[in-house]
């Protein structure tokens, strides 16, 4: 039932006491780094400042900009010779962000991923095909090490080459797959083109999906298409990668592994804690990382704590699926809009496909929002009036959700741009 029973089932006082002890350790490690050494000295912070987890609020926040401006070694607490791995971002918009790990860190991370997979139902009897980029992207090696730790047979399939992915699934009777949700739709199309039915022609029983925000509706669609349960995985490279929060078999939110991540949800502008249950920005402090601990790191991911306890018996709090990022929010006619709000509506319509594109344009000096959605060939009847009615319904329901009236364009299946990795959802063509 549990991978780390004493930690996963720990009662709240035990968990909070463990967090407080580990937070003090983290501060002690962190102050050895040039960045935190200077910052803590300036703010007069030491391990003595921490008596309970509530004292976290006395500590300053860390941002992605801090990571970038102290690239590459400003956050390192140990000698470089004692680190064994780094992962870094592409750095297309400035310095990359880099995270260093020592042996302890990799061991702790692998254990967290193993715990996550186990809680979603993966076992050592599973054949686990990891369909995502290996290399600098943390999903590849992160799941590789975690699934190996769990004892599954891991196929490091990496990304791309859909025909070969299907071949691997058939040759080795793959039972569990980790990938990004948008890829599963492509995979399903490929199955159909090869005249195969995944339910009949594979041994698939479980998906782990993450790295790409998606809605509950999209998850259900995946489950219906394949007849396979899909579990939500959450992580970010600054917090190792995968294995930060994960869905258990109850599928009612993601348990954050609180023994390793002190978790706060704050208002993105005031940075004050939100009222329990309200949506805000996730903030993490690593509690079991030595080479490069991070304190109150602002993730820019938006979610809320879910109330109540989970029937699975784990006391680690649950967060809702990520509803957006503070930086992918866009503003049209004064309304704050997240792409996820629009996706949620689109997924209610069986007649439209799974790809969509939100276009933001300026017409006659006014911001306009156009949503392009793909027609599903199977629903096409040749009736113009029916299509116009469908487009009108989508307009109405989206307007009710985002309070701005969009233009809905139906487009031919497969005509929307697909990127090799994550799907492109918003294109902002507005003039400043």
């Amino acid at each position: 039932m549990y991978w780390n029973p004493h930690i996963e089932q720990a009662d709240l006082p035990t968990l909070r006491a463990l967090q407080a002890q580990r937070l003090r350790d983290t501060i002690a490690h962190a102050e050895r780094s040039p960045f935190y050494g200077a910052l803590f000295a300036k703010c007069g912070i030491s391990t003595d400042s921490i008596r309970s987890v509530e004292d976290i609020r006395r500590l300053p926040f860390t941002t992605k900009e801090d990571l970038r401006s102290h690239f590459p070694y400003g956050f390192l607490t140990v000698d470089k010779k004692d680190t064994v791995r780094l992962h870094c971002s592409s750095g297309t918009t400035g310095n990359p962000t880099v995270i260093f790990h020592n042996r302890h860190d990799l061991d702790s991370w692998s254990n967290l991923v193993a715990r996550s997979l186990y809680c979603a139902g993966v076992r050592d009897t599973d054949v686990f095909q990891n369909i995502c980029g290996y290399g600098l992207f943390t999903g590849g090696l992160g799941f590789q090490y975690g699934a190996e730790r769990l004892g599954a047979l891991v196929i490091p399939a990496a990304a791309g080459n859909t025909t070969r992915q299907i071949r691997l699934m058939q040759d080795f009777a793959t039972t569990a797959v980790h990938t990004i949700p948008s890829y599963l739709f492509r995979l399903h199309t490929a199955f159909a083109e090869m005249g195969l039915d995944p339910a009949r022609d594979t041994a698939l029983r479980l998906f782990v999906i993450g790295a790409e925000p998606h809605t509950e509706e999209q998850r259900r669609r995946i489950e219906d298409l394949f007849g396979v349960k899909a579990f939500n995985s959450y992580g970010l490279s600054e917090m190792n990668g995968p294995g930060v929060a994960f869905e258990c078999t109850c599928q009612n939110g993601l348990h954050v592994w609180e023994d390793c991540f002190l978790t706060e949800i704050v208002h993105p502008q005031t940075l004050e804690p939100v009222v329990e249950g309200e949506v805000g920005e996730l903030v993490f402090t690593t509690l079991d990382r030595q080479a490069m601990p991070l304190v109150r790191y602002r993730t820019r991911d938006l979610t809320r704590f879910l109330p109540g306890t989970c029937p699975c018996g784990r006391n680690h709090r649950r967060i809702d699926r990520i509803s957006g990022r503070t930086d992918d929010m866009f503003i049209v006619k004064g309304c704050n809009i997240f792409p996820m709000q629009i996706e949620k509506i689109l997924m209610r319509f069986a007649q439209v496909g799974t790809d969509y594109l939100i276009l933001l344009q300026t017409r006659n000096g006014v911001d306009e929002i156009t949503i392009q959605v793909e027609m599903q060939a199977a629903w096409f009847t040749g009736d113009l009036a029916a299509l116009e009615k469908l487009a009108r319904q989508i307009v109405h329901e989206v307007r009710d959700e985002i309070l701005v009236t969009p233009t809905v364009q139906l487009v031919e299946p497969g005509s929307l741009p697909k990127s090799e990795g994550k799907a492109v959802r918003v294109r902002d063509e507005r003039q400043a």
Partner: protein, 144 residues
């Protein structure tokens, strides 16, 4: 056999129509009549009468075009004032809504026919038969 028109979903963008006609040309399919119904939101439906509709529909679907066959009613038009009006009155009196209608000329270059897209094709056919207006079979339409 009941006649069918081929209906194809199209985005209103340069080159889209050509992609469809390229498929038909490639398969040697002859277009007998066409109309294009467009929505204001940048897409529309292309309706075609072709000589081999089933085959055309299959090729278009295989090349990724949403295409379907829709049943139609085809009648021969008498060459006199009021002929079209009389036929439309028949449908209107029966409460049958016309989704789309277009005309073409038979191969003899003399006879005009009317292609009608209605919801209840069987009902419409019965009305015409009862009024003494002959409806054309698929074979007659495709060989126009």
């Amino acid at each position: 056999m009941i006649a069918h028109q081929l209906s194809i979903f199209l985005e209103n963008k340069p080159g889209r129509l050509e992609k469809v006609t390229a498929v038909l040309k490639d398969k040697g399919i002859n277009i007998r009549a066409m109309t294009l119904a467009t929505s204001t939101a940048g897409w529309g439906i292309l309706n075609l009468i072709v000589d081999r509709p089933q085959e055309a529909c299959r090729h278009l679907s295989e090349t990724g075009h949403p295409a379907v066959l829709r049943e139609i009613v085809v009648v021969r038009m008498a060459d006199r004032p009021g002929a079209l009006h009389d036929m439309l009155v028949l449908l209107a009196n029966a409460g049958i809504n016309v989704q789309n209608a277009y005309g073409t000329v038979l191969g003899d270059g003399q006879t005009a026919i009317l292609i009608i897209d209605v919801e209840h094709t069987e009902h419409a056919r019965q009305l015409f038969t009862a009024a003494g207006v002959a409806t054309l079979t698929a074979e007659e339409v495709y060989c126009v």
